[in-house]
Symmetry: C2
Subunit: 527 residues, 2 copies
Amino acid sequence: MALKPNQASVDSITLFVALLSSCIVIGHLLEKNRWFNESITALAIGLCTGIIILFTTEGRSSHILVFDEELFFIYLLPPIIFNAGFQVKKKQFFRNFVMIILFGAVGTLISFVIVSIGTMQLFKKLDIGFLDIGDYLALGAIFSATDSVCTLQVLNQDETPLLYSVVFGEGVVNDATSIVLFNAIQKFDLSHITPSIFMEFMGNFLYFFITSTLLGVGVGLISAYIIKKLYMGRHSTDREVALMILMAYLSYMMAELFSLSSILTVFFCGIVMSHYTWHNVTESSRITTKHAFATLSFISEIFIFLYVGMDALDIEKWKAVSKSPGTSAGVSSILLGLVLVGRAASVFPLSFISNLFKRSESDKFTLKQQVTIWWAGLMRGSVSVALAYNQFTRSGHTQLRGNAIMITSTITVVLFSTVVFGLLTKPLIRLLLPSKNLSSTASSESLDPFPPKPMTDLPLANGQTADAEGGRDNIPRPTSLRMLLATPANTVHYYWRKFDDSVMRPMFGGRGFAPIVPGSPTEPLLH
Amino acid sequence: MALKPNQASVDSITLFVALLSSCIVIGHLLEKNRWFNESITALAIGLCTGIIILFTTEGRSSHILVFDEELFFIYLLPPIIFNAGFQVKKKQFFRNFVMIILFGAVGTLISFVIVSIGTMQLFKKLDIGFLDIGDYLALGAIFSATDSVCTLQVLNQDETPLLYSVVFGEGVVNDATSIVLFNAIQKFDLSHITPSIFMEFMGNFLYFFITSTLLGVGVGLISAYIIKKLYMGRHSTDREVALMILMAYLSYMMAELFSLSSILTVFFCGIVMSHYTWHNVTESSRITTKHAFATLSFISEIFIFLYVGMDALDIEKWKAVSKSPGTSAGVSSILLGLVLVGRAASVFPLSFISNLFKRSESDKFTLKQQVTIWWAGLMRGSVSVALAYNQFTRSGHTQLRGNAIMITSTITVVLFSTVVFGLLTKPLIRLLLPSKNLSSTASSESLDPFPPKPMTDLPLANGQTADAEGGRDNIPRPTSLRMLLATPANTVHYYWRKFDDSVMRPMFGGRGFAPIVPGSPTEPLLH
């Protein structure tokens, strides 16, 4: 068809969609393999395609699209984070809230300080171009953004709920913290830090956190209220699903517009939507949204890894570095070392502190669990790449030599950590948390990026769809019973439940308070 | 967040998403209204927003995004057409295949000839800028692209299956025909038409149709084969859904790449996917894809109408026209008149011909039904606008006076036909096809763009999801029984069924041949 303003874009979209499809198929075929996972498959396919393009274009280019932050932050990240909030086990998440904030926010700050100071001290000895204090602090933020997807694919949510929710929750808070830090660094003049500037910085940081959360909660509640009041599903499921998708995206874009942390906003919007809105829609909308959000998140993730793999071979960046391979290797090694140290310096002391406040022995983190948490945060992923591009390039191109080295080193660290650490994750966790946590069925069932429940659960089949917290909490199984005895009666949670039941649910719907649509298929099943 | 390369794009995306949400809510509230429908609501909201933007920018601009064909043809159109193929009642569609092709292809050609010759003759008397023969032929193609969504929202698929499938199928074939025509016109040098060039043109046209269809069928079968062979759903529903979405989109982009008719390709890909692939996936994937595709199509449609409404007030285009409002009004009236005449000249003779070949009286089109078909094709929509922009602007801007008049006239015709004809559709059809076709429940239930079944059907509730052709064909109700007696035993269809059952289904899956996944929720329900 002649209606293409831009033949190149049709070419590249076609190739990209074909590669995404092949990633899914190959990822599925390699599923039984104990080393591989979907991220590594996508990275590998991206690298191979990059090599082929490099040969066919005779070394001119290795990628079909220039790494575009807008694409990443406006289209690919929102579905991933929203789905994370939507599928999170809310009870677990809020029960371990303090620990998640401890690891996610305080841990990221520790790692940030160590990487920043470490690079400042160590890079002086290497012959790299000029970097100012803002660049060093940015490096701290860039290399504090972890990518725990890889570990989550191996951990089993049902067998180690505490570990899973800490690693998962920490990952989200960590993303938000490092991006908020990064933005604060770009905004503030940090060449002369005074106590008052520091206080302003911290105030800004807190303001970000609170307003972003409130915005997400607000938009989520509005969506619940509209859908409950209007009984949309009575006439059209599509309208409900469309409204949920649009409102979720709206929360993200509004946060962007108001210069808030859009990641936190859309995450909390996802939590609120799964707690209220999801219960107000029809049966089929529930199944649809649950799987559609997971699918969108899944496609976005593969997209990012494919992209990073393809971009890694971009010839332009490596040219500036090729004259001094030693320096570049040194920078990458230093960064990798600082990542390992920074992560250790946050996980082990924080685990020690959190263990102090726990009464029951069984609830404390064992050394093996601490090592698992440490390992889960070693991988660096797409957020690091996106932040590095933002700091060290101008519209995808690198001019200064120092900046070029930073970009190539970031890619090296991301590739190395994802591939090498990623490949070791399955065997390592099998070694650390044996048998109980990695039975063969459990591992194959939890290969989804965010698998809230195993596929074969019956509730989905007879229409009583899987609520992230519903159903199974009614039957106290050994683990949750033990946890219930171990943790002190949580008074905050008790009052929240009371408030939720008496004020929130009657207003915004939710389990047990969803509108009864006469003659609808949900009626006989839910009531 | 500071990570936005382009503040303007964040602004406009936020506003656009907010407007889309409000369209859904307002559209829902106006549902009971006998005049309004979702398209008109979106157009009206777009117009209002345009006015507000016009005032706030002090007359500089009325839209937040420049009309972008790439956006339209690469992102918005594919989900709409794919969903049309995916949700079509295949039996009805193929039973009336000859009639659909007759109305869709031959009818469009008649309308094309009439509009082209009519404009050539009538525009000479008006003082408009220079237009060459290519422009006149393009106008023929532009104003032959109908938009029957409006009528489909009012017709009931179950009560007038023949009428519905003819109007629906014709709409899809018409879209494809007019776009293929338009492209052929742009490609061929039509300043001196010889018989050999005409033959080449026709050959090209046929080649387009056949190869495009085959590509769509091929990609659809590959997706069915992969999903059947790999039993993907065993481990992850998300992977199945992702693969279906990606393969569908891949078929569209491949057709674009090979310069075929991507609309036909993705339409047939949708048909094949719903006939084979859809039966090979798990229960929850089936519900998810069914609703997710419908939702995407729904959002795309509202997006387009909102866009057209907003773009209609673009000040730049009207400036060139404002000096001679009479000429512009004349052009619009002529075009509107030619649309009415061209449609009449195709529908009534073709209905007469098709009635000649029908044995049973009850199967012939009555005059009232003919008027309904005529009316259904009077609306002009987003395809017309996109084609007009392609022919008469260069990257969204209009330089020549003649071109500016063509753009504004196109918008006038689209707005007038959608709003005025659209508002009259419900009352008119209520008048022409009374009681039986527009009972109050039926109308409120079929307000979806492509509602395959009413919401309250029980099969969806107990997991046996609604297959577009399955289930209800087993219980011969009066209408289908009458049709069965009326139409002669279709031998082609008989042999196809035999071939389908013995060769195709065992290979590609499909109803009754889907893989049995042990322990999966589909097993006890389907077998």
